[in-house]
């Protein structure tokens, strides 16, 4: 049993019943109001403010609408509500509006119901533009809306806030320091692009250096890079498995893994999030029964997992996954997008965290967007695997290599993390992040919030539940100088809307304290302290955190 297993602690506290009921009621009300307003929009009583496909107005629309309204509106509403889930097409569109060109409408009206009636009300909580480095603090450009969220205008005002939303785990999103200097120099030498694919003379010496450094960092035989993290998954997975193979995918895997799996052509089965028993049951049955219908044995079985799940804050139970891998001879694809750099005593991801030899993982994948403050992704593994990908990956053949400045940022930050720069800066950052995570989580537990995830994960989701609280939390925090990310349906289950904090080594203890004060205040204001759980025991091990808690 690996040593890491002893300290593996995760919590997903159950939603309180009354919170669940109120949340459903809240959504119910929003949907009802949405339907009433959609009805008004359809008959022309409310102006259609969303940008939709041009339609020719029907001259009888007004007359028709007012009669309908006065006589059968109540009945109609009821019917429309019932039919909303069955009928893909709204009756109104058919009879009263003809699309100017006779084209089939590009969007079905029910497709955008959620966007129009729910998301639009709280749209200001997302896509906030910033005009500074996304470091420990950032400058948000204030927007204003004159039509309740349909359109936004930028104002000249800037809001300086603490940044607990960006994936800047090790704090390498910096506009000064050794990384920036190195990148500046490389921009002078190489320009900003390579203008060619890896196989078509776009592979520069800097890419070679990067590939070798990553292999050394991960402790694998070889590695290769792709300029976009999302594409690292979606463009490389199809080279690994194909028809006749089976993919086991955690149900909460990232969209890029889902797309990549789908593009392989292999059969895909999902298992419950991080549930080893469910995985084993399904794996066993798959190996025993073979392919459906013809019962031929599967060609290969690939288990696809993420290191840290960015919406749950949970960490994959890697030792157990590896036990199953060995028992059932499956291959493991580990996506360390959120864990590389951020986890483990040397910042080498969950593999390091659990003290596992990286060579046991067949495919090590990760991105540079987060901990390295750059962009792109990598795949690491055996020399055989990487040679195959270099020859046959979609990314090596069809798209350009990484822009040299981006590559240089990775080289520079990776060397710092590895301690190759001769300073202890890398270790300091890793320690700082670890400390911040434990401390932040402990304090939130103490305040009585429901917090999801692993005690060591740098992603901290705080449960908000109700739809109105999503917006209220985000706005109130922003008002008090804290920039956070809030997430609701469809990115989470409908009653599990949450706020998400991403901790960073760039946050000082004072900043974390300040942020906690803000969260505490807003939590009281919005009555968010739902937790009825006993304080988790792991905190007692952490002397440092204990010490500081006593001071408060």
């Amino acid at each position: 049993m690996p040593t890491g297993k002893k300290t593996y602690w995760e919590s997903f506290e159950e939603t309180p019943l009354y919170a669940a009921i109120w949340t459903y009621l809240g959504y119910g009300l929003l949907v009802l109001v949405g339907h009433i307003r959609d009805f008004f929009r359809n008959i022309g009583l409310e102006r259609q403010k969303s940008c939709t496909e041009p339609k020719l107005p029907n001259s009888n629309l007004w007359v028709y609408g007012s009669i309908l309204l006065s006589e059968i509106s109540a009945l109609y509403l009821y019917i429309q509500m019932l039919e909303y889930y069955d009928l893909p097409k709204c009756e109104q569109d058919d009879t009263n509006c003809c699309y100017i060109t006779g084209f089939v409408p590009l969007y079905q009206s029910w497709e955008s119901f959620y966007t129009r009636n729910l998301y639009r009300r709280i749209r200001d909580c997302w896509n906030r533009p910033i005009c500074s480095v996304a470091g420990a603090t950032m400058d948000i450009m204030a927007r204003e809306t004159h039509d309740h969220g349909w359109n936004f205008n930028l104002t000249d005002k800037k809001i300086h806030v603490m940044n607990f939303g960006s994936y800047n785990y090790l704090g390498f999103a910096e506009n000064e320091g050794p990384c920036k200097d190195a990148v500046e120099k490389v921009t002078n030498e190489y320009g900003i692009t390579a203008c060619g694919s890896r196989q078509e003379l776009g592979y520069l010496d800097i890419h070679k250096e990067l590939d070798e450094l990553i292999a050394q960092y991960l402790g694998v035989e070889a590695a290769m890079t792709v300029p976009m993290g999302f594409a690292t998954n979606s463009m490389n997975m199809p080279c690994l498995v194909g028809k006749g193979s089976l993919i086991f995918s955690d149900e909460l895997n990232h969209a890029s893994l889902v797309l990549g799996s789908r593009l392989t052509g292999a059969t895909i089965r999902t298992y419950k999030h991080n549930d080893i028993n469910d995985l084993e049951k399904k794996l066993r049955s798959a190996v025993v029964h073979g392919q459906p219908r013809n019962h031929r044995p599967w060609k290969k079985i690939l288990i696809v997992v993420e290191g840290v799940y960015s919406m749950e804050g949970s960490i994959v139970n890697l030792p157990e996954v590896l036990r199953l891998k060995k028992k059932y001879k499956a291959y493991v694809y580990l996506d360390e997008a959120h864990s590389v750099g951020a986890m483990g005593p040397h910042g080498r991801g969950v593999v390091d965290y659990f003290g596992i030899d990286p060579k046991e993982i067949d495919i090590m994948m990760g991105t540079f967007t987060k901990s390295f403050g750059s962009s792109g992704g990598y795949i690491g593994g055996t020399k055989k695997l990487i040679n195959h990908l270099r020859c046959h990956s979609h990314a090596s053949v069809y798209s350009p290599t990484m822009p040299p400045p981006v590559a240089q940022q990775i080289i520079a930050s990776m060397k710092i993390i590895m301690g190759l720069d001769g300073t202890g800066e890398g270790m300091r950052r890793i320690e700082q992040l670890k400390e911040n995570c434990r401390y932040f989580r402990r304090r939130l537990h103490e305040m009585g919030f429901i917090i999801y995830g692993n005690k060591d994960s740098p992603v901290v989701p705080l449960l908000l539940f109700m739809p109105a609280k999503i917006a209220a939390f985000s706005r109130e925090c922003l008002k008090r100088g804290l920039g956070t990310v809030v997430v609701g349906f469809p990115a989470t289950p409908i009653i599990e809307s949450r706020a998400r904090f991403c901790l960073s080594a760039a946050h000082t203890r004072e900043m974390v304290d300040k942020a906690l004060d803000v969260i505490n205040e807003v939590g009281d204001l919005l009555k968010l302290k739902y937790s009825r759980m006993e304080l988790p025991q792991w905190c007692e091990d952490d002397k440092n955190a204990n010490h500081l808690v006593q001071q408060h």
């Binding site: 890029s256 495919i363 750059s374």
Partner: protein, 479 residues
């Protein structure tokens, strides 16, 4: 209710009736009741349901041997050789340094020579000192910098569109845009010569894909008529089946231009929504580089969606889509590569803005590029034993054997040798590489020559001479 519960005197009548009934009747009814009970408690019909014991299962698990994760790639694979032997240092500009030797570059897709422009680098460095390198988040979560908004606005303005949307990777642009609109059950008509990114987008959309022959409008019309017949048969389904037409402005695999006027005509005639992928025509075709629409003098509003990457002519990174607001905006919530990926590093966005400034300020370069393209096309076509495929004004030329053999590998090797010869003589070329087993419609093996606007006529002459010499050296040896 009363009828269901018999009164006492009814009960008495019933009892009397049972006594008076003949014996065979009672026996028959008793048998029926027994039979019902038997049916109720007997096991369900289950043919051949084999239940494996745990031991048998263990044996099966022990026996199963998966295939190796990846097949072996020999160390002397031509691609690995080419990658390991050609170490490029510094920027791959018009002249680049490979293995310490400086050679003329006709491989990089740097059509406008913007790679290596100092003002672009300066703009990027300025952004670097403001934003750092990475944006550390997707567009929704504090990954939107003001430069992203500015670049989108500038691109939309440049293309005369209502709105543009920026992606962080060229390949992901069209591959995400197609599935954002076209869903299961929809129909997509697509040219069979489209690039790999489009092919992946089509697969991801799970729609019905109908390929028509490359640039063959009659074949497209045939498919449209076929679809019309099908629609008449099931009008209810036709009412919700969206139809799309996906083409490339300038085909990367063939180097020729799509017949856009005819395609637009088809769009209106058969009510198709037309998506044009302009990665190779944006910043190349047209008098001011606005792409294939300008080349044919077609109003951009006739095109539903235009997508292009900024990695070729613009000399940056990423890609964008532009069109009407009601179309483009949809991708902000449905484009996978937009929503779920970190945004473009701001310094690259700044670089792209500066590139746009340059091509707006100096539209003369497009004329120059066209001259270079036609000149090179003309000279290449004179080389014996080889032929050049594509349109004379295209900045990529597919230069292939005029008499290809049946053996694709053999031709590939000859072309590989030609590029090696040329490299010896001071010219960098690259064979066009494809995933041969995965391409929908594999073009003939070729050397892909990229034209740079900065090449002078003398340089072109020298380069073409080198190409001719290398071809001769290789082809005479093999024949």
């Amino acid at each position: 209710m009363m009828a269901i519960i018999p009164a006492t005197w009814d009960m008495y009548d019933m009892f009397q009736a049972v006594i008076q009934a003949p014996a065979y009747h009672l026996i028959f009814e008793a048998l029926l009741i027994i039979w019902i009970f038997k049916l109720m408690f007997s096991k369900a019909y289950a043919p051949n349901k084999t239940i494996l014991t745990e031991k048998e299962k263990e044996e099966l698990i022990q026996e199963w041997q998966p295939e190796p994760l990846v097949p072996d790639v020999p160390d002397d694979h031509p691609v690995l050789q080419a990658m390991n032997n050609n170490i490029i240092s510094g920027r791959p500009d018009k002249v680049m340094v490979i293995n310490g030797k400086s050679v003329v570059n006709m491989a990089s897709l740097n059509f406008l020579g913007l790679l290596g422009d100092e003002s672009i680098e300066a703009a990027a460095q300025k952004a670097l000192s403001k934003y750092g390198v990475g944006s550390c988040g997707p567009r929704g979560f504090y990954g939107t910098m003001d430069v992203h908004l500015e670049l989108e606005e500038r691109l939309a303005k440049f293309m005369n569109c209502e709105e543009a949307i920026l992606y962080s990777y060229g390949f992901a642009t069209i591959a995400s845009a197609i599935p954002a609109y076209s869903k299961r059950g929809d129909v997509i008509f697509v040219d069979e010569g489209v690039c790999f990114a489009i092919q992946k987008g089509l697969i991801a959309s799970r729609s019905v894909i109908k390929y028509f022959k490359h640039n063959d409008m009659d074949d497209l019309e045939r498919l449209c008529i076929e679809q019309q017949k099908e629609d008449k048969r099931v009008p209810k389904k036709a009412k919700v089946t969206r139809r799309f037409l996906v083409v490339e402005g300038l085909y990367a695999k063939h180097g020729d231009i799509c017949p856009l006027p005819k395609l637009v005509e088809m769009k209106w005639k058969y009510k198709l929504r037309i998506f044009v992928e302009e990665s190779f025509s944006f910043g190349v075709l047209g008098d001011t580089g606005r792409g294939v629409t300008e080349h044919y003098g077609i109003n951009i509003d006739e095109i539903d969606l235009m997508a292009a990457c900024l990695e070729n002519a613009i000399g940056g990174a990423g890609g964008f889509c532009c069109g009407k607001k009601y179309i483009v905006d949809h991708q902000r919530l449905s484009g996978l590569g937009y929503c779920f990926s970190a945004s473009l590093p701001p310094m690259l966005a700044s670089g792209a803005i500066q590139s746009l400034n340059i091509i707006i300020d100096d539209p003369g370069m497009f004329g120059k590029l066209r001259n270079n393209c036609t000149l090179i096309h003309e000279k290449l076509s004179k080389i014996e034993g080889m032929r050049v495929v594509g349109d004379p004004v295209a900045p990529i030329k597919h230069f292939s054997l005029s008499e290809p053999s049946d053996d694709r590998d053999l031709d590939n090797r000859s072309l590989e040798k030609i590029t090696q010869e040329a490299m010896q003589r001071g010219l960098a070329l690259t064979p066009a590489r494809y995933l041969e087993h995965e391409e929908h419609n594999l073009p003939l093996p070729s050397i892909r020559i990229a034209v740079n606007v900065k090449l002078t006529e003398e340089e072109i002459d020298t380069c073409i001479n080198i190409v001719a010499d290398s071809c001769q050296a290789v082809l005479s040896k093999s024949s």
